[in-house]
Amino acid sequence: MSALVGERTRAGRLGDSITRPDGTAKVQGSFQFSSDLNAENCLWGATLRSPHPSARIVSIDLSAAYRISGVEAIVTAADVPGQATYGLISQDQPVFASDVVRYVGEPIAAVAADHPETCRRALEAIVVVYEVMAPLTDPERVLDGSHPPIHPDGNLIRHQRVLCGDANATGPIVVEGTYEIGMQDQAFLGLEAALALPDPGAAGVELYVATQWLHEDQKQIAACLGLAPAAIRLTLGGVGGAFGAREDISLQVHTCLLALRTGRPVRMHYSREESFLGHVHRHPARIWMRHHATADGLLVKVEARMVFDGGAYASTSSAVLINAVTHTQGPYRCPNAVVDGYAVRTNNLPCGAMRGFGVVQACFAHEGQMDRLAAACGIDPVDLRLRNAMVIGDKLITGQVIENVAPVERCIRETAALPLPDEPVGGHDRNTMRLPGGAGRTADAGHIRRGIGFAVSIKNLMYSEGFDDYSTARCRLADGVVTLKFATSEVGQGFVTIAGQIARSVLGVDEVVLGTIDTGVGSAGSTSASRQTWMSGGAVNAACLKVRGLLFDAVAALYHVDANSLSIEGSDIVGASGALRVSVLEASTGLEFDETVEYRHKPTEDLDDNGQGDCHTAFAFVAHRAVVDVDPELGLVKVIQIATAQDVGRALNPLSVLGQIEGGIAQGLGLAVMEEIIMSEGRVRNPSFTDYLLPTFLDMPSVVVSLIEEPDPIAPLGAKGVGEPPTISSTPAIVAAIRDAIGRPLDRVPVRPIDIIG
């Protein structure tokens, strides 16, 4: 059912900027997203959600809803046949709330009916009696122990300390600040949607769903349904963006449960408002940092206290927290550290994965600190960062040694060297729409001040803390055509392009057919943590190499040459002596090679109580320079240009890399100046795109990019993940530029007009 099935990717090898196989369909509107899926005799599903952030459920009465003609099934917690709860790390979140509700939007029941309108009326007819309680919304109340537990697992999800070197070390220069990061939404455009097709006799179910990790969904759904994982077959529905919001279960179990209950196909879609309540968000955080440095600006020690609001359920909060605390120092050498990080449970919306995964929050704080330090030392902010830039062999505050390519200095120098915008305030055409305020024409050039800001970041790639992180790929070569099969979720990042490029480069073929992305092959792991090019790319590469080995063996046997002397040149197999040249098509005609490979990165360790351990796999680096125009009187901002030099290892598809960089910057800009889920007393005030503002074309600046290509020997293709870094330091660079323009500190994102006018 995916538009990618059987799609032949266009010719192109590693390093080529080929276009996406699904690009034209998406632009023309013919791509089938998961919300477009349908089946004969299909019912609609809908979810009843809690209107309260904290309440005891006294009773649930379904009788009136069942009397509505067209209602086929209503399920509640009592109907969950397997495990009552689910979750990525700890299984603490109920499929349906039964005794208490812990956040606004928590599912209580799901309905299957003949029409969405019938569903709506059924939801209205379900009578839930609540005993409303005061919500716990302030994370500090968790830490001071003044609030009783709101969940059997307690209110503290995780505390992690990092102690490194001498805790009493100090320096002549000390700067400190407290930084706040608001709750950002992933705001993918393709809303949550799934179609479930039940097997006869409710023995199993087939689920088409937009997700980031088919096999993890399979595992969690099976546990909740009380079925074997093999009984749940998942196929990737067309995904319209993910950014972390599709890592957790949302409607998967509900849809399957309704299909099994009714024996009919069920489709379920979220609305935009429901989506804001139905997936996890970026953690709001409050971070205090104190940096100690020499008079020359060399870091002596960093201290930090980080509080991440995980909301009502754990999701990936503990891993997000670990990312934050282990990235406290940023991409800088720092011999001593004392860091305490807390992820807490509240009655706010659950938070979990979002592009940058904890590092976004840490980076906003450490980059604010680097600018404070530069000012205190009287050193240029770029120069200060260069003095502290880490290199291969440097030790992190966790004791882990950086083993992979670490071109931090190059990132900084090349970013600083990129040309500044040549246009004056308002542009060459003096159009007021180019000024802050945009189409509102609020300013004239004389009202505007320009500022420049700089920020650098380090981001771990792949999964951490001892997780068995692997990806599976299958490669079949027959008659000169390669067929690849993997369960790697294509969420828009472009693995469907990269996979074909790898196969063409390794095997010298032109035609690569991509199999359906489903659970018919082993797990690929999650499309997150900037990991799929490395992990699934590594798996596809290894599978193709294995097939190539078999092909070379066959050619060697046929032509009586040494298989080790053979190589691929264009679309031919050639011998070392030059005597042999046979096309891959000819050599593979009548033969079939079919190999499946699991690729793993080197194992990682847990952190000990002092936060020491080789918990991460590899790192990528990036620098951003922002130029902004600010209207100080109205507090409005227009970002004029972002310059960036990014450590990509090797650009396997430069066009695709550029897409990630520009998109990531748009998301970083959003967090810097407009994107925030505003909550008060546990309720969302702005669950719509009318009031949750995303950058438009007029908000997006020009982006000047330098790709730093130093192939990483640790990476299977030399390529690092590129998806997250653009989001991470673009935000602090923009805020630094606003500070530069107005000459005052700004310690909170998104920066609001009132923060600027002061």
């Binding site: 945009g438 189409a439 609020t442 300013a443 407009m674 503002l693 908000d699 609001r752 006018i757």
Partner: protein
């Protein structure tokens, strides 16, 4: 939900008269948001965007007025020659939504919704527009300031349709500004339209999003009329500052999740001062 799609004005007025509970939509850019969000569930919708009489506009040079059909879209208001006749309305129209919204949304719809943040409304208020209403049995016209009663409340009766808006064509600079936290496609936190009339040496100022409905700032207008020089196109810095203070004083905004009342009041004062400076660029 049933829909009627009249193509002629008399037919439209007749069906509105026989279905007084029906929801009348033109572009539907406000109504569909409410329907999709489940806030409004009309049994009957009457779509008037295909009524030919509502889709056109006429210019009367002798009377110095433009009569704009209620279903003329924002995109059409941005085009020449309308944009030259009423520049502030073209500027306000450009701030509405996205191109798709501007292609569908209409000036009549802006009036019918009567949101305090309606982008066309400060322009209509500043220029002293007249709203024409009709039912199957009667017609009437009233000043836009009388038409707008409160937050999303108007003088429109259940059997009436907004058919057209007559807008005076003034000689003199006019402009519109709007503050939002995004550079386009955003709801106004504060907005203002300033229009000058050289024939009467008067300045008009109307502000939006800072009260239950659009506010004409009489004190600011009177002050500016006495303080600026039309001949030299000049205003002193003190005049510009005072004009902003008077505009802010005339506003009575609320706190909500979009902005604080204090910010809205501050912003509308800044907009008023800057618009006055654009109209009178010399010190």
């Amino acid at each position: 939900m049933n829909a009627l799609v009249p193509t002629q004005l008399d037919e439209a007025l007749r069906v509105i008269g026989t279905h007084p509970d029906a929801l009348v939509v033109a572009g539907g850019t406000d109504a569909m948001v409410e329907i999709n969000a489940g806030h409004r569930r009309p049994r009957m919708v009457i779509a008037v965007n295909r009524v030919a009489e509502l889709r056109s506009w006429t210019y009367d040079p002798a009377g110095a007025t433009v009569r704009i059909g209620a279903a003329v879209t924002y995109s059409e208001l941005m085009e020449s020659p309308l944009a030259e006749l009423i520049p502030a309305l073209a500027e306000a129209s450009r701030t509405v939504g996205s191109p798709q919204i501007r292609n569908a949304g209409t000036l009549g719809g802006n009036l019918g919704t009567c949101s305090p943040a309606g982008d066309g409304l400060p322009v209509l208020a500043a220029l002293g527009a007249v709203v024409h209403l009709a039912s199957a049995t009667r017609e009437r016209s009233l000043p836009v300031s009388d038409f707008m009663v409160g937050v999303k409340r108007t003088a429109l009766e259940a059997d009436e349709l907004i058919t057209a808006i007559t807008i005076p064509v003034l000689a003199g600079w006019q402009g519109y500004s709007k503050v939002g936290v995004r550079n386009a496609m955003v709801i106004a936190l504060a907005s203002a339209c300033l229009a000058t009339d050289v024939t009467t040496s008067s300045v008009r100022l109307a502000v939006g999003s800072v009260g239950p409905t659009i506010i004409r700032c009489a004190d600011a207008e009177a002050f500016a009329g006495e303080s600026v020089s039309f001949a030299r196109r000049s205003a002193t810095p003190a005049t510009v500052a005072r004009f902003g203070e008077l505009a802010a004083a005339a506003s009575h905004p609320i706190d909500d999740h979009r902005a604080t009342a204090a910010y809205r009041r501050h912003a509308v004062g800044v907009l008023a001062s800057r618009l006055l400076r654009r109209a009178f660029p010399n010190d």
